[in-house]
Symmetry: C2
Subunit: 561 residues, 2 copies
């Protein structure tokens, strides 16, 4: 008797790996998330495949590297034909549902070319990254003189309006703004307002709203035997940084971690790093007043997220669903918050490219591993493989490039685990690429990291000279403050890293129509279909194979030519 099992795949947006108490934060207590780490396994070296929302998410959802699926920046459509977790799990009888954010952009041109209509089931799933939609809200309802950043309908804005919040965009005017001394909107797009309480009832803010949507989804599955995977995808603690009371002033002073940066980082920096330090966000977060205003809000947002996890997990316990629900807690990337003179994400320091990855597997086989921490390099794309195995399938490793984490969850050491993780960043659409005078194809970065070294290759050149690599010694310089990429003492390490990157570049990522098993089955089968090569005379080959090629000659018809 197999018990039905479900998957609750919870993602936060821009949540740093070290901003949970189980991730090492000394002042931000996150008991609910920690409880999942205690019941499950925490992966302490999990890297996203691209430190930017859209691209990272497409890697999570496809189980493939950014260069493999091609959606390398926010708003780059995931091309029709790419297969997602939803496609793989549906084949195994498990449905895939979205509650929250994906940052998916639709490949309208591809759909039109292939005659796939948006109102068909196939079209709806292709448009939504393979998910069926319970609620989609990407959580960025910014608006400028050229209109909204996101043209969809916002279920969250509709919720606020239904509760009596006024105006066209209460997401901004309430959830993401406070009130200043003169009674004006204090928009959190201006970080000087970040420490103010958001002008909204706490239970109406984004995180509690989404939690209720998730519970409502789970309730809706009652009486339905089909197992489900639910992607509960929160926008927070992503900017705009502001949180309602009482979370807005829970943290301050010594509870704010000291900034991780060093003046030496600004001396003769790598040209690409220099550009990012000098962009608007980098410059802003290098100002003390920005950090001082933002940090309490960022920490408060995480505390609110953790409290909401408490609500969600209590619901699962109360309804006796904890015993058959795999729970994943992760994020699409981190947040520099001023470390390394940077804001946002983008580059590959631990603050940006590493994420929390905590997985609770309810299976009895997982009892041996509960509470363990795995420090092997893991990748976001491993989740897709993990889900397929958890759902009872064989991982299609000709499509999914990640590897199942199930052995780790069950206390086993997988054979030949990877030695290093890969991440990529395509910054072709940014002003930094313009400033560096780069063509789009050259504005790309690649990270290779093992437990000891972190390496970055930058495509492109400056003044005809290829960009140097970056290299950090994670053992002797765990804060990544000293770039050894131009050191002449590290040729062997740099050579090894280029060798690894080369091997990765040659990987077989697009042979998605034939599995390894298919190929094993093909091996040397063509002979029995009459393709007989290297045979000179009839007696050199089994007559059975060539029976169709023997016999009396046929009579020639009359030549009417």
């Amino acid at each position: 008797m197999t018990k039905r099992k479900n998957i609750l795949f919870i993602m936060f947006d821009q949540l740093r790996h070290d901003y949970l108490s189980c991730g090492g934060h000394p002042h931000l207590h996150t008991p609910h998330m920690d409880s999942i780490a205690e019941k499950g396994v925490r992966f302490s070296r999990c890297y996203v495949q691209s430190p930017i929302c859209g691209s990272s998410r497409m890697s999570f959802y496809t189980g493939r590297y950014a260069s493999s699926h091609g959606a390398q920046w926010n708003g780059f459509p995931l091309k029709v034909g790419e297969q997602t977790i939803g496609d793989h799990l549906r084949k195994l009888g498990m449905s895939s549902w979205l509650v929250g954010k994906t940052h998916m952009a639709v490949d309208h041109e591809g759909m039109e070319r292939l005659g796939i209509t948006h109102d068909s089931i196939v079209g709806a799933r292709v448009s939504e990254c393979g998910f069926d939609i319970y609620a989609r809200d990407d959580g960025l309802w910014a608006e400028g003189p050229d209109g909204f950043y996101d043209h969809r309908r916002s279920p969250y804005n509709e919720y606020l309006k239904s509760k009596g919040y006024e105006g066209e965009n209460p997401w901004h005017d309430y959830a993401n703004a406070g009130i200043d001394e003169e009674g004006n909107m204090a928009s959190a797009w201006f970080t000087s307002h970040s420490s103010k309480p958001a002008n909204i009832h706490e239970q109406d803010s984004e995180t509690p709203w989404l939690t209720r949507e998730v519970i409502s989804f789970i309730e809706s599955r009652k009486g339905n035997d089909e197992p489900w995977m639910c992607h509960a995808s929160y926008i927070k603690p992503h900017w705009p940084y502001i949180v309602p009371a009482p979370y807005h002033d829970m943290y301050g002073g010594n509870q704010i971690q000291p900034v991780v940066r060093h003046p030496a980082e600004r001396e003769d920096p790598h040209p690409v790093y220099e550009q990012f330090m000098n962009n608007a966000v980098g410059k802003a977060f290098s100002r003390d007043e920005v950090r001082e205003a933002v940090m309490p809000a960022y920490m408060g947002l995480i505390k609110q997220c953790d409290d909401q996890m408490g609500v969600l997990f209590k619901y699962l316990e109360d309804t006796d669903q904890m015993k058959d629900t795999m729970i994943v807690l992760t994020s699409d990337h981190g947040d520099y918050l001023g470390d390394h003179w940077l804001g946002e994400k983008s580059l590959f320091h631990e603050q940006s490219a590493k994420v929390p990855m905590i997985i609770y597997d309810p299976s009895p086989e997982a009892d041996a591993a509960r509470g363990t921490v795995i420090d092997e390099p893991t990748e976001a794309i491993d989740l897709a493989a993990t889900f397929v195995e958890f759902a009872g399938g064989k991982v299609p490793n000709h499509i999914i490039e990640g590897r199942s984490l199930i052995p780790f969850l069950r206390g086993e050491k997988p054979e030949e685990w990877r030695d290093y993780a890969i991440s990529e960043f395509d910054y072709s659409a940014t002003p930094m690429a313009v400033n560096l005078g780069l063509k789009p194809k050259d504005a790309r970065l690649f990270m290779v990291t093992d437990k000891r070294w972190k390496f970055m290759h930058a495509e492109g050149q400056k003044d005809g000279v290829p960009f140097p690599p970056m290299l950090f010694d994670l053992e002797n310089d765990p804060d990544e403050l000293r770039d050894l990429g131009r050191s002449d003492q590290h040729d062997d390490i740099l050579g090894l890293m280029y060798e690894r990157l080369g091997k990765w570049g040659r990987r077989n990522a697009q042979r998605t129509t034939k599995s390894d098993d298919d190929i094993d089955n093909m091996r040397a089968k063509s002979r029995r279909k009459g393709i007989v090569l290297g045979v000179h005379t009839e007696d050199e080959v089994d007559p059975e194979i060539t029976v169709k090629f023997r016999g009396p000659a046929k009579p020639l018809p009359a030549n009417d030519g």
Copy 2:
């Protein structure tokens, strides 16, 4: 007034670059093909992207490397979503028609997943590599105890039956067999029969039949103003090697080129090369009697092809279409024919990976370049780009990885032309991979060649030691007889080749939903849609950008929570 222009894209199968008189053959006279080289441009260093039919053709048809489209072996389906010459040209108002072979395998699973039916126009094109079909015949109607190698209907077999040829498979029994001394079928699957005349009237053999189909296609376009690209795709001089009289005994003795091989090649060879030398075809073609039987047939088949080109070009002249038809003559790969102790294709010696590439451009702008020979490295994928430019389009270089050859055709030197060509070979489905104990993903080879050096990297390992590379000095060893891959004198060249292969491996091949122009247009546009980052106070930013974020605070509704 723009005159309508058409493209006649003629491909032979397994035609060696040096088996035309314009390609340097001293005895095989090919005046008709030569005439196109005289009227056009011959590219003397054109490499296919994979030296095997199916994979090479998918690269020709998509303009993409084999690792990019993923159809890396015969019978690996081209995945739904890959765009082809047909897709690109249709957007420019030019139709794309197939007459002959493609070796396309259909991605049935992908079509089903996306709800694309085979009987729709989209489905028909997806199933046929983007072409509309005038006649498809892949020309390999082999049959063994497990049935036919190819399960389609053969228009050529139907033609033969209509002419009174007997039996179920006259393709084999007549076109590809002679008669032995006892009156039995002398099948050309046995190379001892290759020098016999095929038991068929010459005008009914494959090459003249296809030529008539091509002319019949062109005739069918009369009165239709839509420009067309016609892929006239011949199966010959591909095996089974046999040709009807009078071509079967035109060549022999001194007209057969001496075999290019050396006993030193068999001493301590590269492990992968060794496997190919020791496979059935390699061993067969290393026997003198096999070469002696096959060479007259191979040369006769090419002579027949050339005569049929005479028929076709005369038709174009007689109907005054030469002045508005681009003509391409090429092949999908070469044929070792015993050189280097090998038969067939597969590896990257010039005999296998280099192909004829002759292009006649009827435009007056091309007058300056007629009769020239270009020795820059070119790739099969360049044709797709060339066709798009010839049809009046801008090459979508986020999809097509080849580069237009139009500048060369018009006597111009393109800026920054490539320094090297790339080819790949996936032999995972072969017995050689089994013998080497390789997993499918490791049975892959990569070539990098410039005008001076040819390099091969082999994925995988033997006894825990990675395979060495192969390296040939094309200047001092033009016959590629001395492998320098393990020489310690060539570290710099090997390093350069690995650097080039690494750069190629990092290429941006899958970002097909956004063009470089799209990216230029995206740069820094998000601010005007309200995504305002790195701003601390209201006075740090243009008020127009943030007008939606200013104004009186909104009243909070009653808390009913």
